[in-house]
């Protein structure tokens, strides 16, 4: 039984974010413009000192290739630090839980996972991660990967307004993202999480004495500061392996709504930051509307199917009627719409945190989540999500231009085959990075497929598809199920490569496309110019995005989730 009234806080929260996003997005945009910005008095001297230590300066603007080189150096450094830390965590700082050193393949997967903003984990945090790994190593990637995503987006935005071929200075973008966006907000949100009940302590393990005897180990740590940057940076890793389903990381309905706000804030503001940088604020709305349409439909489907009773449990007579949604793999304290909002927003923003067990969801709800990772741009992860949406737009305008026989241009910049080739590469690498490993895993015997049973084989296909899709989209949510065991060298190594390809190839394409735009002059709008800040363009882009995503993945959906839905299993 689902009460319509219980939707009110969900709708209000989305409305609040949409009302706040233009304001915050304008601030976000100003961080990346060479103009005075809020906070300069305090932060500019600090930033200038840091540039001097780094031996760089905002005046050293980089072309796409140099920007990419700097990006790879920093991200490679993060990766190496994490890999070293995880393989040596026994002998490094703070290991009260006695976590063993990671094997090289697990450390390869984990370091790649955190560096790429994915935060897909093939281990149990509580027994396989030392407090040092959770506090010193992992958060470095939480900050750096989020800052990298926003920096890439900013560089791409600049391509639409610059004419000298440069995209900005990567180090400067990273520093300003950290000092002006991530660090202050992470501190503020962490403290608010503490007020909402989340632990923040350096006491690691306590032994409690339960009422019925025995002992219970309580694992604590700086959970609030970890969750804060993990959600704000669309990373999605959890301090606990139950992630935001753990009552320690998400103690109440209010903390749940607050965490949704933290996840939505930057992805929903990034289009407005784009509008700010290109100084045409109206251009943000078609993208925001596209994102809202897709998320609203997804959320509606998710809630509807989670409100329905599970037919396979109909035979259990002693079970009471179902209220407040399907309870298996759910926590008592969230209502159905609130829990669903968290899960849908988390996956659609490529955060990948979970406040429920994705493996326990109805097949339609699982397909809804998969679709968000197929588009990976509604709104998608920090910076790169909106970058992907811009690539969709570039491709869509090019295709539309061909159909009506008009020179394709966007914001006064001509779209040539150069840009289209790279945009297509970025969008095609995603299915390639999912489908090729999928075929290898299934035909190579790395998962056991029970071909005699439709239910079993469809579940197995869905599990494998979800695993690789989450990795390629740099999402990190996991459909843990009994049908596959992903803690194996095959899944560790394959997964690590998928995440690295799914992260750095599209970033490279975004920078190249931005760089190509940055070399062009801005054409004045003429009578034949496509008006992109319009409802027509919104509808066109939404349909283009949905149709392309569906066409790319339909065959493999048919094997897994569709077979489950149609076959009633």
């Amino acid at each position: 039984m689902f009460e319509l009234q219980s939707l009110w806080d969900v709708i209000l929260l989305i409305a609040l974010v949409i009302a706040f996003a233009p304001v915050f997005g304008a601030y976000l945009g100003r961080v990346y413009m060479d103009r005075p910005a809020f906070g300069d008095i305090l932060l500019l001297p600090i930033e200038t000192t840091i540039y001097r230590l780094l031996g760089t300066s905002p005046r050293r603007s980089m072309r796409a290739g140099e920007y990419m080189l700097a990006l790879l150096l920093v991200n490679g450094g993060v990766w190496a630090f994490l890999f070293f830390f995880f393989t040596h965590q026994q002998s490094l700082l703070w290991n009260a839980t006695g976590a063993p050193n990671m094997s090289w393949d697990l450390a390869f997967h984990s370091a790649s996972s955190f560096t790429t903003n994915t935060d897909f984990t093939h281990f149990t945090n509580e027994s396989q991660m030392s407090l040092g790994s959770l506090v010193i190593a992992w958060p470095l990637a939480l900050f750096c990967s989020a800052a990298t995503g926003l920096s890439v987006a900013a560089a791409m935005f600049r391509g639409f307004v610059r004419k000298d071929g440069t995209l900005g200075n990567y180090y400067v973008d990273m520093v300003r993202t950290t000092t002006r966006i991530l660090l202050p907000l992470a501190v503020l949100f962490a403290l608010l999480l503490v007020i909402l009940g989340v632990p923040e302590t350096f006491t690691n393990v306590l032994t409690a004495h339960p009422l019925t005897g025995g002992t219970q180990e309580i694992i604590l740590g700086p959970v609030a500061s970890f969750s804060s940057i993990s959600l704000l940076g669309t990373n999605g890793g959890g301090f606990y392996s139950a992630n935001a389903a753990s009552p320690l990381a998400n103690p109440s309905a209010v903390s749940n709504l607050f965490e949704v706000f933290v996840m939505m804030l930057i992805p929903f503001s990034t289009p407005f930051a784009f509008g700010q940088v290109i100084r045409k604020r109206g251009e943000a709305w078609p993208f925001v509307a596209t994102i809202l349409i897709v998320v609203a439909v997804a959320l509606g489907l998710f809630i509807a199917y989670q409100a329905a009773a599970n037919p396979s449990l109909a035979g259990i007579t002693a079970l009471g009627p179902q209220s407040n949604g399907y309870p298996v793999g759910q926590e008592t304290r969230f209502s159905l719409p609130e829990g669903s909002l968290f899960q849908v927003v988390s996956v659609y923003s490529n955060v990948g945190a979970n406040n429920m067990m994705i493996g326990a969801l109805s097949p339609v709800a699982q397909l809804v989540l998969l679709f968000g990772m197929f588009t990976q741009s509604t709104p998608g992860g920090e910076g790169t999500g909106f970058g992907t949406l811009l690539l969709f737009a570039v491709l869509g305008i090019f295709v539309g231009g061909l159909m009506v026989g008009r020179t394709p241009e966007y914001l006064g910049k001509k779209i040539s085959t150069g840009q289209v080739r790279w945009a297509a590469l970025a969008l095609l690498i995603h299915p390639a990075a999912i489908l090729i490993p999928f075929v290898v895993a299934v035909t190579g015997g790395f998962v056991s497929v029970d071909t005699g049973s439709l239910a079993s084989s469809a579940h197995t296909f869905t599990s494998v598809l979800y695993e690789f899709t989450s990795e390629s989209a740099n999402n990190g949510s996991a459909l843990t199920s009994n049908y596959i065991n992903d803690a194996t060298p095959f899944f560790n190594i394959t997964g690590a490569f998928i995440m690295l390809v799914g992260r750095f190839v599209p970033i490279w394409a975004m920078l190249v496309v931005g760089g190509k735009f940055a070399e062009q002059d801005v054409l004045p709008p003429g009578p034949g110019t496509l008006r992109t800040a319009s409802a027509t363009f919104t509808i066109y882009i939404t349909l283009f995005l949905v149709i392309v995503s569906v066409l790319l993945f339909l065959p493999v959906i048919a094997l897994g989730p569709l077979a489950q839905i149609v076959g009633g299993t």
């Binding site: 031996g55 005046r59 989340v198 700086p222 793999g329």
Partner: protein, 214 residues
């Protein structure tokens, strides 16, 4: 490399000289210094500063919402369920990991997986046999279903109310008293429809202990 020298007599151009690119060595230095700074800031300064402030503004929550026995012994955390399956206590939701945090989150049962029906049947049978329910009818679905974290500290109010006859038998507290007791400990949303009504079982049981002389 120095800026190209201008021919004598010409004024410097108003357009700025395009800045030169970093050398590879310059990039390595920038990246290394950046990473060292980031480790210091995000790995040490950030968690220490937040923890320091948190311990001042809300030491209870920051410490993990711990709950103690009257003699000061640590009983647990009000945010974590524990095994409460004694006849005289209110029981929490079942746990696939036996409420052991170090085992992390269990692998869930799929929507149509036969094992799901089996585990729910098993839980229902256990509750029926040892729960000593005198009421006829059914068990709350939200109580017998496996949770996400396997340490869900809360149950729906119905799940607490249905256990009252058993607790009354075991403790000789009256049914009407226990009903009032549960109602008093039921947490209702203080804004309508934000969250759902629930009962934190460990808090409820700790409040029950002095009443039953344990």
């Amino acid at each position: 490399m120095t800026a190209p020298s201008l021919p004598p007599g010409t004024a410097p151009s108003a357009a700025p000289v395009p800045p030169r690119a970093h050398s590879v060595g310059g990039h390595v230095r920038a990246a290394v210094v950046f990473l060292v700074l980031m480790v210091l800031v995000t790995g040490f300064a950030y968690p220490f500063v937040v923890t320091g402030i948190a311990q001042v503004i809300d030491p209870g929550a920051a410490g993990g919402s711990l709950v103690h026995y009257p003699n000061g012994t640590l009983a647990g955390s009000s945010l974590i369920a524990q095994n409460l399956s004694a006849p005289y206590l209110f029981w929490a939701r079942p746990s696939a990991t036996d409420y052991n945090l170090t085992l992390g989150a269990p692998t869930p049962y799929g929507y149509s997986e036969p094992a799901l029906q089996a585990v729910i049947n098993e839980t229902v049978a256990y509750m029926k046999e040892y729960g000593n329910f005198t009421v006829n009818g059914t068990l709350p679905f939200w109580w017998v279903a496996p949770s996400a974290s396997s340490i869900d500290p809360d149950v729906v109010p119905d799940a607490a109310l249905i256990q009252i006859p058993r607790i009354s038998n075991a403790t000789h507290l009256s049914i009407s008293f226990l009903q009032g007791f549960v109602n008093q400990h039921t947490v209702n949303p203080f804004i309508p429809y934000v969250g759902v009504p629930y009962v934190d079982v460990l808090t409820l049981d700790l409040a029950l202990l002095p009443l039953i002389g344990r």
